[in-house]
Every structure is written in structure tokens, then in C-alpha cells.
Homo-oligomer: 393 residues x 2
């Protein structure tokens, strides 16, 4: 038959990263490209026990249809952790369990974004958010993300220019792709602007629990709870394969996102919610996180040492205090997409920065992931990368 | 802050059924309202074994991020079952695993529906589809569903009236809510119209494997594969809590729905896909289905007997050969919404038909589910229903 598509999907093409990642799975390639948590740190045995316990104790009820909002004890656990970890009062009834944070982005797009409306996003910004929101056809208004956080002068200029933006998306902790965190002062200033300008921030926080260095900083949501939707995820702290995340939603938004969730998939996998809750309540999440942070911290340090040792001085990089990513800025003459081709010949892979920008003019950046590569491999991989880079200079 | 919503969500309100179902969980009420499969028939022990096997054999890999398309061996299994069950050639690469059929509806809405565009749907129609598609703001064009299937004369009239419809949604086997199936002739005539008018049918088939009577009829997708997206689900045949369904997509549509899936939730729960596949390949699905069909068939028969015994002759009902639902048509003077209130006083519940219509003028129908109620309870519940009904006449 004659193909047809909705106007919103007429021009959509497969993500470039998706295509790239196919090359990077070749066994001879050292890959800094993936955004995967380290599977060696997954609590496989504990999950196996939790499956067995949940099924033998609860039986068929664990496998039935369940509520759209999510498993109540899991929501209670999340609320209590906000209390103990951040001193935040979160009502479990305002938590919605989602199929990963990615689904939260889709639901928020559905409920909040009109075609052509301005949407403020970090530059560089998280690709998954750009993809999810793009479906609802906003006009992206990028604001530079610097070492301290969002460029407030640029944000102020935008907010005073008569923007139609009601929504701002950001990842204040160890951002994907840059690894940068917003400082305490930057968050306070941002919260003040959210309130003053009646803006809603989607505060995406998949990495906040993975701080291996420096001091924890309160979420923006603690400063401006009515003006934020706070997203969390178990993908980086426990396992990603369950596709379980959550959103903390202000009261005024809760009913509509729940309806959107119901129309989208009724509810998230009920069995996995119960298994995850069992794992969290029979093991120490903090002890588990310590193991992850020890490994990631060590690997980030190794990557920094290797970059300093092998890269020409014209290359700069961020120094993340947590998370999984580090961001390289190359000399302006070097196009990271072209470098990628040379790097593949040298048998090392990364993600070029281009897809993280909503405007196409910045070409000399790239993302390196240190989560899944041990220290010796990092040293070898960075050597290869530096060799590729030297060919381009 | 000042609440705001996208134009598409400005007027959306919680589903009426959702509110109703809260009342019906009272322990003193006999409920024919729910749309749940019978949990006594869930293969709990086998699922527990499959979890254990998958985790101990495959380890961490089962819990990592996975491909958007879904677990390849599960897609292979589904393709092979279409071959053995229906003699259909389905390419596993054209199968996309979804988070329940509900998600397939959302993805198709995203990729195919423009605001204001006609969308053809059965009357009465599946509420979940109405909800999922409504987000994308089509103009619903209902076509009456009769004992033999779609009203072809009405469909022809619509197709020749200059409709903008490119999409038709239907449930040809044991439809929710009516229990009606399309006859072989009706399917053939429909397939011919799909091809002639360049229409795409979303053929939703969650109940096709639950035929306890009569002869199986080929899916419309077998007759017009390029003009159908065929949806399937494990929710009614294995367990719903995993939220696993699938769509068989024509080649021209596959790339775009995969992109939509990626933007929506990256992929469906990877662990549950593997557990489900393990269950399906270490047990006989057919033997398992026999048990379900035996119970549902017996309960449908009991419901018919009780209806014939207790209801006034002015009440008519469908005679489903499979699935979970039966549809009552009351005398025109009786409003099923009002009957619902009286029935709750009599301690019996059902779903009034109103939410299954996209136009508000039909009030004298209701849905009864026989999946979760044993024969003695059915007899008692139908007595109560008839008592409530007599109060209204």
C-alpha cells in the first residue's frame, strides 16, 4: 500500500548514535561510546533471590495487571529515600513509576508540549530528551551548559525576550553528555528564576546517586518543588533491563500525567517493580552504590591521567565528580565526526558531540564513557584516540 | 506555579471506568466489571523456574539495556507460532516487542495520526484504543459492529464519502467489549476494502488464542499483510504483569515505529522478555491455553444459562466463542449507568457500555466479564443483576 505517516513523523530519521553503536560492538574496538552501566556490578544473585521470594510468597498476584501509579511500597521507598538522603518531603502519592526515565520524558511531552512552543534545554543536551520531546515538535531554545551549570545571563536574556517557554529541561548532576554538574549557587539562581518566571523544570537525575567525589548538592526540586518534575531511575543504580524509573510530580500535574501513562502502557512491569522493591528492602542500596562509585571513580581518574599523558594541549575535558561520562573539546579545526572515522581505524570508539546539539554549528566535541572499561583498557584506548587525533592536526 | 497543559491534554479527564472499578473491588460485590485474566491460571511456578534459569545461566547480560526491537529469540518464537498456528509467513525482523498492546496503540498513534484526521473504529470500540488514539486527536468515525463483524455497507458509505481516514482499528476475535468475532466472509470483504482504498488496519488480537468453541478464522493480516498492523499480547495467554505484547508491522512502517518506540521507552523490560521466552520454550503454550479455554468456556456457558434463566426476555446478549466478555443490550428505556447504581446496591458490578462509544447517544448496553468468576458466583451474580434490572423496568 501507499505509505503514510503523521506530520510529526514524516521527517524523523533513525538516530545517528544508534547507527554508530553498531560499529562499536566489534570485539577489536575499545569503546568509550556506550552509555551502559557496568554489568559486572549488577546484583544478579540478589535479584535472583528476590524473584524467587516474591513469587513464592505472593504468587499469582505479582503477575496480574496493576495500578497505573506503580507499586505503592516502591513509591513509599522512593519517598523515604528522598527524606533520608536529601531531607526532602515527598508525598508517595505524587510519585509515578515509569518505564525508565525515557518514558517520563515522553509523558511530559504529551501533557505539556504544544507544537512550535519554546522549550529550554541545555547545550549540549541529553539526546534521549531531544528525541522524546521532538515528537511533540517544540522549538528548542538551547542555553549553554558551562562548568558551573546553566549560563544564567543567557537564560535571563531568553526569559526577557518574550519566549513562549513554560518548560526547561536539565540534568544538574553529572550531565549526559558533559559530566558537568550545576553548582549550589547555580541551582539557587535557577530555582529563583523558575518561580519568578512561572517556569517548570524537568530535573532529570539518573546519576545523582553516583557521586564519587566532592559534596552532594540539593536538587533544584528541593528549592522549588512546585516548579519541578524530578525524574529518577534505577537503571544506573540497580539494573537498566527492568526499565524502571519514576517521576515526582507537583500536585497540579499529577492527574494528567497519570492519565497519559494509562493511555500509553496502562502501567509499568508489575513483577519487576516488586522484585526491585524486595531487593531494595533486603539489601543496602548505599553499600551497593559504594561499590559502583569506587569502580567508576577509579576509572574516571584513569581516564584523566591517560588524557593528560597522551592528548595534545589543545584538547580540553571536563572533570566529572560522578556519573559515567566525560566531555572532550577538540581544537576548533577538528570535526569529531571525521575523527570518529579515523578512530575506528585505530580501533577506538566514542560518541561525536553533534547529536547532543539542537543547532548544527558545533562540531569539535565528543563524549567518552568510563563506566564499562577497566583502567588498563582506558590507558590503551586513550592512546589510540590520541593517535587518531594527531592524524587530524 | 500557574498550571499549564498542552492543548491535547487541556480537556482530558480520568477514565470513567477507572473510577467505577474502585467501587467494584469491595469484597461483598460480585464483579463482572474487571477485564482481568484469571490469576488462578497463571503459571507461577514455571515463571519462577524460568527466572532462576535465565539469571543463573545468562547472568548480568539479562539485566542490561537491550535492543529497541525486542529480544530476538522471542520475536523468532512469535514468528514461528504464526507459521504453525495460521500458516502465516511473518519475518521476525518485522516484529516489534511492545510494553503491552496498549503501547503499540500509542506508538501507532504517534507515527500515523494527525489531528483532525478521520479514524475508523468499531462501535462499540475498545476503550483502551479510544484513550490511546485520543491523545493524537483524530476524528473518530464509528462503524457498527454486528454479529458477523463490521457493517460493510456503512463502511462502504464512509469510504465513498470522501473520508480522510487512512487507518481502521478493530478487534476481529472476541472483541472487547462485545465478545463478537468477524466472520470469515466479513474478514475477506474487509481485506478487499483495505487494499482497494489504501487503508491500514490495526488488527488488535489479544484474545485470538482463547477460542473455546467454533472454528478458528484467519486473521485479516493473512489476507492483506501490507495493509495491516497485527497486534498480539501475552497478557491474556501467559501473564499481564510483564506488560509484553508485540506488533507485526509492514516493511514500510517498521523503521518509524522503531524510532517512536526508542523515543518512548528505549525498549521493553528485557529481563521479562527472556523469562517469558524461557517459559514458552520449556513448556507447551498449547497445553497451557487448553486449561484457560476450558475454564473460560465453562464460565461463559454458566453465564448464558443464568442470563436465560433470570433476565426478562427484552434483554439480549452476544454469544462469544472465546475471550473474556459478553455484551448485554437492555430495553432502550433502561440506561446502563443508572442500572449500575442500582446494581451496586444489589452487590453486583459490570461496566456500562457508554465509554465504549465515541458518540454519546447509546445508553442501553453493558459489558459482563466471565473470566474471573466461578460458576456458582456467576449464577448468584446474574440473579442480583436481574433483580436490579427488574427495579428499572
Amino acid at each position: 500500500m501507499q505509505p503514510f505517516f503523521s506530520q510529526r513523523f514524516e521527517k524523523v530519521e533513525p538516530s545517528f548514535i544508534r547507527e554508530i553503536l553498531k560499529v562499536t560492538t566489534r570485539p577489536d574496538i575499545i569503546s568509550f561510546a556506550g552509555g551502559l552501566p557496568n554489568p559486572n556490578l549488577f546484583p544478579v544473585k540478589a535479584i535472583e533471590q528476590a524473584c524467587q521470594q516474591v513469587l513464592s510468597e505472593q504468587g499469582a498476584a505479582t503477575l496480574q495487571y496493576a495500578t497505573t501509579e506503580g507499586y505503592a511500597p516502591l513509591r513509599q521507598y522512593i519517598a523515604e529515600r528522598y527524606q533520608t538522603r536529601w531531607g526532602m518531603q515527598v508525598n508517595p502519592d505524587h510519585i509515578l513509576i515509569t518505564s525508565g526515565s525515557q518514558q517520563a520524558l515522553d509523558l511530559l511531552g504529551k501533557v505539556l508540549i504544544d507544537e512550535g512552543q519554546d522549550l529550554i534545554i541545555e547545550e549540549p543536551g541529553y539526546l534521549g530528551a531531544i528525541q522524546a520531546f521532538s515528537v511533540y515538535q517544540p522549538k528548542f531554545r538551547p542555553i549553554t551548559l558551562g562548568e558551573e551549570g546553566l549560563d544564567l545571563a543567557a537564560l535571563d536574556a531568553l526569559l526577557e525576550s518574550g519566549t513562549t517557554a513554560r518548560l526547561l529541561y536539565g540534568v544538574p548532576n553529572f550531565q549526559n553528555p558533559s559530566g558537568v554538574s550545576y553548582s549550589r549557587a547555580n541551582r539557587a539562581a535557577l530555582a529563583e528564576r523558575l518561580i519568578r518566571h512561572n517556569l517548570l523544570m524537568v530535573e532529570d537525575d539518573p546519576y545523582g546517586e553516583l557521586r564519587f567525589e566532592g559534596e552532594s548538592i540539593d536538587p533544584v526540586a528541593k528549592l522549588a518543588p512546585e516548579n519541578t518534575v524530578l525524574l529518577g531511575s534505577f537503571s544506573k543504580t540497580v539494573v537498566p533491563g527492568f526499565r524502571l524509573g519514576w517521576m515526582v510530580v507537583p500536585a497540579w500535574l499529577h492527574k494528567k500525567v497519570t492519565i497519559a501513562k494509562q493511555a500509553t502502557d496502562l502501567h509499568s512491569n508489575a513483577f519487576s517493580q516488586q522484585v526491585l522493591h524486595r531487593f531494595l528492602t533486603t539489601h543496602s542500596l548505599d553499600a551497593h552504590l559504594e561499590k559502583i562509585k569506587e569502580v567508576y571513580g577509579r576509572q574516571r581518574a584513569a581516564m584523566e591521567v591517560a588524557l593528560a599523558r597522551h592528548c595534545p594541549p589543545s584538547v580540553r575535558w571536563t572533570r566529572p565528580e560522578g556519573g559515567m561520562f566525560l566531555w572532550l573539546t577538540l581544537p576548533e579545526s577538528v570535526c569529531a565526526m571525521e575523527l570518529f572515522q579515523v578512530a575506528i581505524e585505530e580501533k577506538v570508539a566514542f560518541v561525536p558531540g553533534a547529536p547532543f546539539y539542537v543547532r548544527p554549528d558545533i562540531k569539535n566535541t565528543l563524549r567518552l564513557s568510563f563506566s564499562c572499561v577497566d583502567e588498563a583498557t582506558i590507558e590503551e584506548g586513550v592512546q589510540r584516540l590520541a593517535r587518531a587525533l594527531r592524524k587530524m592536526l
